[in-house]
C-alpha cells in the first residue's frame, strides 16, 4: 500500500463547494416543487435562485481552472471506450465480489477510471449545464417571453428541470456508494478531503 497525491487543492474546493450548492439546490428545489415544508416557500425560492447563480459561477471558475491547467485531459479517453467501460462495469458486477483487483490502477497521471471519466464529463458538460440553463430560462421566463419565446414552454421547461433534479439525486446516491469501493471503505472520501489516497501497490 502506498499514498499518492490525487486531488489538487482547487479540485477539492470545487468538489465540496459543488456538493454543498447542489445539496442546497435539491433541498430548496424540492420544497418549491411542493414535496415538503421545511424553510418556507419564499425562503426556499430565494435560496434556490441565489444558489443557482452560485453554481453557475462555480462552474465557470472550474472550467477556467481545468482549461488553464490542462487537467481536463483527465476526463479524456483513448482507444476503445466501450471496451474499457465494459471492463469497469464487469468489475462492479462480478469482479468486486471475487475481490479481484481494480481493472484500472489509479496514479497521479490517471486518477479516473473510464466509467468515471465518461460519467463526470457528461455530468459537467451536459447534465449540469442543461439543468442550469433550464433553471435560468425558468427564472427569466417573463423576460424571454417578452423577447418572443412561446409562453406555452413554461410547463415543459419546469418538468424537464424537475426530472433532471430527480436524476441528479439518483446519481448522488450511486456516486456516494461508489466511494466505498476503494482500497478501504473510506479511502476515496479521505482522498477527496486531504488530496492523498491510499492505493494498492
Amino acid at each position: 500500500m502506498k499514498k499518492i497525491y490525487l486531488y489538487a487543492r482547487f479540485q477539492r474546493f470545487w468538489h465540496w463547494t459543488q456538493f454543498l450548492i447542489i445539496s442546497v439546490l435539491l433541498l430548496t428545489g424540492l420544497e418549491v416543487h411542493g414535496l415538503y415544508n421545511l424553510m418556507g416557500y419564499e425562503n426556499a425560492f430565494k435560496i434556490h435562485n441565489l444558489s443557482g447563480w452560485g453554481l453557475l459561477g462555480l462552474i465557470f471558475i472550474a472550467f477556467f481552472w481545468y482549461i488553464t491547467t490542462g487537467d481536463f485531459r483527465q476526463y479524456l479517453t483513448e482507444g476503445n471506450l466501450v471496451e474499457k467501460i465494459w471492463l469497469q462495469v464487469r468489475y462492479y458486477m462480478i469482479g468486486i465480489f471475487k475481490h479481484e483487483p481494480h481493472p484500472f490502477k489509479k496514479n497521479e497521471i490517471s486518477r479516473l477510471n473510464p466509467l468515471q471519466r465518461i460519467t463526470y464529463l457528461m455530468l459537467t458538460l451536459v447534465g449540469l449545464p442543461l439543468q442550469i440553463i433550464f433553471g435560468f430560462v425558468y427564472f427569466y421566463f417573463n423576460e424571454l417571453v417578452a423577447l418572443g419565446m412561446n409562453p406555452d414552454w413554461m410547463e415543459p421547461i419546469a418538468l424537464i428541470h424537475t426530472l433532471l433534479a430527480y436524476l441528479l439525486i439518483a446519481f448522488v446516491i450511486m456516486h456516494v456508494y461508489m466511494t466505498t469501493t476503494g482500497h478501504t471503505l473510506t479511502s476515496n472520501i479521505k482522498a477527496m478531503i486531504t488530496g492523498w489516497e491510499e492505493v494498492d501497490e
Partner: protein, 535 residues
Amino acid sequence: MKKLLLSGIIFSSLAFALPAKLTAEPFHRKIDSLLISTTDHKKFEILQQDFKSGPEVTKACLSCHTEASKQLHRTRHWTWDVPMKKGSRLGKKNVVNNFCISVEGNESRCTSCHIGYDWKDKNFNFKNENNVDCLACHDLTGTYKKLPAGAGHPAYFDTVFEKKFFPKVDLAFVAQRVGRPDRHNCGICHFEGGGADAVKHGDLDNSLLKPDRELDVHMAIGKNELNMTCADCHKTEGHQVPGSRYTPEAHDTHGFDYPLKDNNPATCSSCHGLKPHKKLKKLNDHIGRVACQTCHIPFIAKQRPTKMWWDWSKAGKFDKNGKEITIKDSSGAILYVSKKGEFRWAKNVAPEYKWFNGEMNYTTFKSTINDKKVVSVNHPDGNPNDLDSRIWPFKVHRGKQPYDPILKRFVKPIVYGPKGSGAYWSDFNWDKSIRKGMQNAGLEYSGKYAFVETEMYWPISHMVSPKEESLGCKECHARNGRLQNLSGFYLMGRDTNPFVEYFGLLAISGSLIGVIVHSIIRYFTVKKLKKAGGI
C-alpha cells in the same frame, strides 16, 4: 465655528430630506373651507328658502350650475343603462341579478338608490333636468337620506317605514352645506347594495366609513393613515365616475395615471405603476397574469358578514297563526324571512378566483338558460392562454330564483307593491307576481315557473390589506392552495406531471435498492472469501 455651522446646516437639511409618511390628508376637506373652495353656499340667497321637495332644490342648483343636469343625464348613475360593445344593454335597469332579481316592476323600491327623483315606473322622464338629485352625492351633513320606497325622494315629513324612523330632511340646511362627495355619499348606496349594509359586494360595506389599516390600507382613518376617500381613486371628471363594474379594466397595461391621466385612473397601477414591488422584484413577474387584488385582498367582508346565498324557493312560509316568520342567528344575521326565503352569510371569507379579461358575460331576461346545472347570471370571460386575462378574486353570490321552465328563461317577478297589486312581498303568490312582472316588461311567460340555482360574480377591488398581510407564495404555490380549481396552466408548487414524478421515484428508489443489494452481496462474498482465507 464655521465647521459647526456647516454641520448644522447639513444636519437640518438631512432632516428635511427624511421621507415623510405619505398621507392623503392634505388633499381633503379642511376645517377652513377657504383653503379648498371659493364658494360658501350658505351665502346664496336662492338656497335660503323653504324647499318643499328635492326637485325644487335641484332647480336652485341649476340656476348657477346651468349645465349640471345635462352632464348627469349622460352618466350611468342616471341612466342605469350601459350599452356594451357587442350590442347588449347592461346597467342596473337591464341586468338580471340573484338578489332582488330585477329593477323593472319594482322601481319605487329600487330607485331609492337612483340619483334622481320620481322614477316610479317605466314612464319615468329621463330628460327632466329638475329630477336629478344633487344632494344624494353632495350632501356633506350626513342628514340627507332617501326613503327606502320613495322613488328617490327623501322624507319631506317625519315618516316611519318598516318600523324605521326617517325624520323630515331640512333641505335648505343640506343645500347650503354641499361639497365634493365624501365616502358616506357613495356608501349610502354602494355600501348598502342589496338592501342593507354589506349584503351585496363583499368588499364594500359601512365598515369602510371608519376603517383601520388592517381593513383597508387606503381608506384607513387615523394619524399617519392614508385616509383616502372613494373619489381619490374613482377620479371623477364631468360627473363621469371611472371604475364601473360593467366595463372593468382587468389588465391595466398603461401604468401611472398621475400626474397625467391616460386611461382608467381607478386601477391599482394608476398610482402604483407596472413594477410596484421594489424589494422582491421577482413578484413583478406576476403582474401580467395575476391581478393586484388577488394577493392584496386576502379576505373580504372582513368585519361584517356579506350575503353568500339567497334561496327564493323557500320564501312564503308562515307560522301557525299565519304570520310572517323571521329567523336570525345569534349575531343578528337574518337566516330566513317569509318575504325573501333563506339566506346564508359569511364573514372574513376568502374570495374565489377566475381568469378575467374585463369582459363580463351576462345572462339577460331574453337568454335561454340551461336549467340542468347551476346558471351563471354573469361570468367573467378569460383563460390562461389569453394574455389580457389575469387571475382575479370574486365574491360569488349563489342562490335559487324563479325562472320559466318551459321557455327556459329568467322571469321578472314584481316583489314590491301594495296588497292586491300582485307584488310577492304583499300577496305571496309567485304566479301572479311573475305574470304581472312579465306583462309590465312586455316579456313572454309560459304560465309555469320553477326555481333554478344561480351564481353571480362580483369582482373584488376594495378592502386592500397592508402589504404585510398580503397572500404568501404558498397560498397558491401549493397542492390544494387557493388556485386549486383553476386549470389549463402550469403553476409551480401546485402542479406535477405523473410521468416525471414516477420516473423520478423509479430512478431514485432504483438506485437506492441497487446500492443496497450490491453492498449486501459485497458484504457476504467478502466475508466468505475471508473465511476461506482468500484475502
